[in-house]
């Protein structure tokens, strides 16, 4: 067997050579500098694990929540900002006045803000940014600026915006990505080189891996604690968890599998932060056609759902039960969960009365974690009430978008509507995929937008209640904001109710 040993020895030498070859220079420009222990090491560095990587950095032409999640409030700033309780607060605008007719807004801007290319931020830039939404943006969100008649710089620090009708929503929208302040010289290459006034400056983007931001040395406001922040993207929730467990990242920005939280609970190395989001998980009905154009069928479905049991089964009991399309952080929230309590007898009676069991209803869900885990539960709860349900899982986004969203070829679906204050968008437009056409509701929504802030609250409450009573959809639950972080990282937002993952207040104690 001597020769075999020589063979083995030769193989070992070959293996060493190959290891050396594999470790030798050359290589690639992709991928993560702060991978491995790098992220966890230095005190002033932070690596946050997130789920969806943006496809571009330009939210003016590309939709998707991932871009503002990374850039808004961090790289780009807005005139006003929404706080943890849903109140509008000053940001680049120190103060603002609204004229009596509600059509003219006068903003007093800070005088010491600078763009990352060195230029000072002035009212001219603000006017330019607002005009540019109307002129050059291509995403449909630009519609929120349609109400602007004119934006002009009165002086370097004063901006006057005239609306063609009073709109409460407009000021709120100015806190979202459409309100991002840009400079004329910084918009040439938005897809790869964003220029803003924020506490962080965009540094590199390793596609398929991470986005790096570094602290802006000339930031006008309170300077951020972390000098270097890496947003690292993980498609797979297990990989994301492992990255925190092994110290590759410091924070899981959004937990995708709540049942996996058990491994962090009771471990003093980590802390779990739980709050609310704007993500209403909606069991949507196709209100435009039979059977769900019949109020009684919709009511039957709402009575059939046992929301508490559903939340426990499909999202590990994390999340908030809501009775309408309003999260608790909106000023017009009220608890409407009592309107349709779980009542199997009522549901069965309504199913029998409407003969809804005659034809099967198609529950066509997107291939997203919450929808997949809730789909089966919803199906079985509806079947207990006598419905016949066929469950289809459609690939998201491609197939679901075409079939359900565009062609409305569905009876029911389950999807989280994550945009802030989206009741009007989802139920106020009869052409939207919910196909909900309620003239009274539309009138109330318009009046709420045009009225005083007090009237807005009253009318929005009325609309939310009307919507729930009319069973325009069933509001399964509100997605929780779940963050897991290494102990000692402070300032993480309890509620995720803006479009951004705001890094400004984060620190290490």
């Amino acid at each position: 067997m001597k020769h075999i040993r020589i063979g083995t020895a030769a193989a070992s030498v070959l293996f060493l050579a190959l290891t050396a070859a594999c470790s030798a220079g050359s290589g690639t420009s992709t991928s993560g500098g702060t991978g491995g222990n790098g992220g966890a090491g230095a005190d002033k560095n932070l690596t946050v694990g997130l789920v969806a990587e943006p496809a571009s950095l330009d939210f003016t032409t590309k939709d998707g929540a991932a871009i503002p999640q990374a850039l808004l409030d961090n790289v780009y700033e807005t005139l006003v900002k929404v706080d943890q309780d849903g109140q509008i607060k000053p940001a680049l605008a120190k103060a603002w006045k609204v004229s009596d007719d509600g059509k003219t807004y006068t903003f007093d801007l800070v005088d010491n803000a600078k763009f990352s290319d060195g230029q000072a931020f002035t009212a001219k830039d603000a006017a330019f940014s607002i005009d540019r939404v109307k002129k050059d943006w291509t995403v449909s969100l630009k519609a929120s600026m349609d109400v602007v008649q004119d934006a002009k710089a009165v002086s370097d620090t004063q901006l006057q915006v005239t609306l063609n009708k009073p709109s409460n929503n407009w000021l709120y929208k100015m806190s979202t990505r459409v309100g991002a302040m840009m400079t004329e010289k910084g918009v040439a290459d938005l897809a790869t080189k964003p220029v803003g006034t924020g506490p962080y400056v965009f540094q590199t983007w390793k596609r398929g891996d991470s986005i790096s931001l570094k602290a802006n040395p000339s930031y006008w406001g309170t300077k951020p604690y972390f000098q270097q922040v890496t947003l690292k993207y993980f498609k797979d929730p297990t990989a994301l968890n492992n990255a925190l467990l092994t110290g590759t990242i410091n924070v899981i920005g959004t937990v995708q599998a709540p049942e996996s939280l058990a491994q962090f609970e009771g471990n003093d190395k980590y802390e779990i932060i739980e709050g609310t989001t704007n993500g209403e998980v909606l069991l949507s009905f196709n209100n435009g056609k039979a059977p769900f154009n019949d109020l009684k069928v919709r009511q039957a479905a709402r009575y059939a759902i046992d929301h508490k049991a559903l939340l426990d089964t499909c999202w590990a009991g994390r999340g908030t039960l809501i009775g309408s399309m309003v999260p608790p952080t909106d000023p017009w929230y009220e608890d409407l969960t009592g309107l349709y309590p779980h009542d199997l007898a009522k549901a069965k009676a309504l199913v029998a009365e409407t003969n809804a069991a005659a034809t099967p209803v198609r529950l066509r869900i997107p291939s997203l974690p919450y929808a997949v885990s809730c789909g089966q539960v919803v199906k079985s709860q509806l079947e207990q009430a006598g419905f016949k349900v066929t469950l289809d899982q459609l690939e998201f986004p491609a197939v679901w978008l075409t079939t359900v969203f565009t062609d409305a070829d569905y009876d029911m679906s389950i999807v989280a509507h994550v945009e802030p204050r989206d009741l009007p968008a989802v139920f106020g437009d009869p052409k939207y995929y919910t196909r909900y056409d309620n003239k009274q509701l539309q009138a109330d929504l318009a009046a709420a937008d045009a009225g005083t802030p007090e009237e807005q609250v009253t009318l929005m409450k009325k609309a939310a209640k009307e919507l729930s009573q009319d069973a325009a959809g069933d509001f399964l639950f509100l997605l929780p904001n779940l963050i897991v972080a290494e102990k000692g990282i402070t300032g993480l937002p309890k509620n995720a109710i803006t479009e951004s993952f705001d890094l400004t207040g984060l620190a290490r104690s």
Binding site: H3, I4, T28, S29, G33, G35, G36, G38, S140, D236
Partner: protein, 316 residues
């Protein structure tokens, strides 16, 4: 010899044409509208129509196919639907990452398979040979992603010896690069090594029964020496074939392993672009993979001619 090369080149070209048609056809059959996916949930109908025109998706299928293929021939892979960036540099970037994985995994497989396969063949009736054989069966049965998950659980999460996932370019931080490379290469390479071991074993067993080995032994060569002088070369033919076929398996395995280990290679790129319906991107990547597999098979065909002089005559 020349005739053989010409014939095989013709087969290669024909296969490339057929597979390009198939790849294109599959993309057309995929449900979902690329323009709508690119624009997202809130896009207006007019914007979608405009983008469809911009992508050229409103043209007849034949025209779309021809413009794609003619681009490929000129090494122009086109522009991504989603990011609007040139595709070729992005593929090159990701390919470098995947090549590390595939090449290292393949070398590891060979390094495992040759000695162990030979050992198993030489001891195929003894307990040690049988034990090795059973072990390799286990290796064959475990899919690479499962091996990956197990390796992560044990060596990263429990023992904390190695990082659970991630990728660092070798020129940026060689130590970190190696540490991150170990587990993915092991999960790909061990499984492939186990498969290959089986083939090496049976190839060696086969040649041992050949007449020329008996002749060599009769001339007085020892068993191992006879095998080294005459056996390995003959055993190499089926093994090299399997190795080439395994390249395809490795590339496909890399798609999954890259996802498990969060490695920004060609595989994760492909998965992302399928879900984005970046059809032209997907076509390019799949075509590249097909091209790689076909070319490797072509090279293997030519290698046969080198390894086995009998084929040069064209008797096949």
């Amino acid at each position: 010899m020349l005739l053989q090369i010409v014939r095989r080149t013709a087969i290669l070209l024909a296969s490339l044409v057929v597979s390009s048609v198939l790849v294109f056809a599959f993309m057309v059959l995929l449900p979902g509208d690329p323009a709508r996916v690119a624009l997202g949930v809130n896009a207006s109908e007019s914007a979608v129509t405009q983008l469809r025109q911009e992508f050229g998706l409103d043209r007849p299928l034949v025209a779309q196919y021809l413009s794609w293929v003619s681009g490929l021939v000129r090494f122009d892979l086109g522009t991504s639907y989603v990011s609007r960036a040139e595709i070729a540099p992005q593929i090159v970037d990701r390919l470098q990452v995947t090549m590390w994985l595939v090449v290292c995994a393949m070398l590891l497989a060979v390094v495992i398979a040759v000695p162990f396969g030979t050992l198993m063949a030489l001891r195929h009736r003894r307990p040690s040979g049988l034990a090795l054989s059973a072990l390799s069966q286990v290796g064959v049965a475990v899919p690479a992603f499962l091996a990956g998950i197990l390796l992560i659980t044990v060596f990263a999460v429990k023992l904390q010896w190695l990082p659970a996932n991630g990728w660092t370019p070798p020129n940026e931080n060689p130590t970190q690069f190696l540490r991150q490379l170990v587990l993915p290469v092991l999960s790909l390479g061990l499984v492939q090594g186990a498969v290959l071991t089986r083939y090496v074993r049976s190839a060696i067993l086969d040649v041992q029964r050949e007449d020329y080995i008996r002749t060599a032994r009769a001339k007085g060569l020892g068993r191992a020496r006879a095998l080294r002088r005459h056996g390995f070369r003959n055993a190499a033919i089926p093994v090299v074939t399997v190795l080439a076929l395994q390249l395809a398996t490795l590339l496909i395995g890399a798609v999954v392993v890259e996802r498990v280990f969060v490695i920004p290679g060609l595989g994760s790129l492909l998965l992302d672009q399928v879900s984005n319906r970046d059809l032209i991107f997907v076509q390019d990547v799949v075509m590249l993979l097909v091209f790689a597999v076909l070319v490797v098979n072509f090279v293997v065909d030519l290698l046969y001619l080198v390894i086995d002089p009998r084929l040069k005559v064209g008797a096949r």
